[in-house]
């Protein structure tokens, strides 16, 4: 089994890449994807390779103010990083990210406004462009009471839409420090609380690594690989 996590390292989080790798190895992960907004500023990414048994992949989170800037930044970063993540903050950004085949993961489209869920048009575009939908289960630990109930409701609705359109799902703990990391089994148990099936959750935890493997290969156009 090869589980994989997407997280943030120092200076955007509060643990260095190697500390995250050490903790993740102890918990049973095989690889980590570090998705900082500024990947070139990660503190000592080379130190993480000293820890054997866990693969540290440097991806990137793309942020932009408007859909056009997002599109150009995504295409600029595509060649340099094997994994690109976009956090859905506004309706337009979610729509733009789902329509871009270069984006790998669109994380948590219900984070900015809990009442709104994944729209049908977005889901259809994500299906067409093979954009995976991510669920940040860290919110289950951050929030308490009614806000968590609302989050769970929104997540359940998103999950329904994602199942209807057969989108690929990803779950992550959204870790900002080594204390936020959760063991794969714990994360799957949390996902079950949020409405996932057990098998679905295990698949969702393995998907990011598969995406990285696909992106490492050289594609000339959709479905055509340069060997």
């Amino acid at each position: 089994m090869s589980f994989c996590e997407c997280l943030k390292a120092y200076p955007e989080g509060s643990a260095s890449a190697s500390r995250l790798a050490l903790t993740a190895k102890g918990l049973g992960y095989n690889s980590l994807i570090i998705c900082n907004v500024e990947p070139q500023k990660i503190f000592r990414p080379d130190a993480a390779s000293a820890i054997k048994g866990v693969r540290v992949i440097v991806g990137a989170e793309v942020t932009a103010d408007n859909p056009r800037a997002l599109k150009s930044r995504v295409s600029a970063m595509r060649a340099r990083f094997p994994f690109l993540m976009v956090t859905g903050r506004t309706d337009e950004m979610i729509r733009a990210a789902s329509e871009d085949p270069n984006v790998d993961l669109l994380i948590h489209p219900c984070a900015y406004d809990i009442r709104r869920s994944l729209s049908i048009a977005t889901a259809r575009a994500a299906k067409l462009n093979r954009v995976a939908i991510g669920f940040d289960l860290g919110a289950l630990a951050h929030l308490r009471g009614s806000s968590r109930a609302r989050w769970l409701e929104a997540a359940r609705r998103n999950l329904q839409v994602a199942r209807k359109f057969e989108l690929s799902l990803v779950i992550t703990a959204g870790a900002l420090s080594h204390l936020d990391l959760k063991a794969p089994r714990d994360l799957i148990a949390l996902a079950e609380v949020a409405g996932f099936e057990r098998k679905e959750a295990a698949e969702a935890l393995k998907l990011p690594e598969k995406l990285v493997e696909l992106n490492r290969r050289c594609w000339t156009s959709p479905g055509v690989e340069l060997l």
């Binding site: 509060s14 643990a15 500390r19």
Partner: protein
């Protein structure tokens, strides 16, 4: 309450867990946090079906009793605990077993006292500077001079490893006294 019929006896499982924390956490506070997390996530009715009891806790590892059909719920409860009395913690489940003896032998190794060094060494690097709070094996916890460095994640200290600190200076591993 004891049941007369063995078939009506509650089936128990024992979950071994490990605690990672920024400070020391007393067992009493951990128990109350676990119970409040359970009630918050599953409500009183859910808590009645899965009565949790802390069997033992030594500050680092512990044993929790739960019902045999609610093992995953118990895992989820442990995963939602973020801080105990203001101290940032992480709880990881290690494994589940049917008896206390078996769980202890399998998942709770009898280690000696955890060696935590606390020395007033400082780190002065380009990107990060601060006091070392404690080191344990490869792990180094650092209290940064700039408090904004840990903003957002609610932690007090930065988590680093000794690999991060090597090569910072020509003659040293990055610590100010050249260790």
């Amino acid at each position: 309450m004891r049941s007369r019929l063995p078939v009506l006896r509650a089936r128990r499982r024992y979950m071994a867990f490990e605690l990672e924390a920024e400070g020391t956490v007393p067992a009493k506070e951990l128990v109350s946090e676990i119970h409040s997390a359970q009630v918050s996530l599953f409500g009183d009715a859910g808590a009645a079906q899965n009565r949790l009891k802390l069997i033992s806790f030594n500050g680092k590892r512990g044993l929790l009793r739960c019902n045999h059909v609610h093992i995953d719920d118990t895992r989820a409860i442990l995963a939602t605990i973020r801080s105990v009395n203001g101290i940032r913690v992480a709880l990881h489940s290690k494994g589940v077993s049917g008896t206390i003896k078996c769980a202890t032998e399998k998942y709770l190794p009898q280690l000696g006292k955890i060696s935590v060094e606390n020395d007033g060494r400082r780190i002065e690097l380009e990107e990060v500077s601060g006091c070392i709070i404690r080191t344990h094996g490869l792990k180094v916890d650092l209290c940064p001079d700039d408090r904004n460095k840990t903003k957002g994640s609610d932690t007090r200290y930065l988590g680093l490893t000794s690999f991060d600190l090597s090569g910072g200076h020509e003659d040293a591993d990055g610590t100010a006294d050249g260790l």
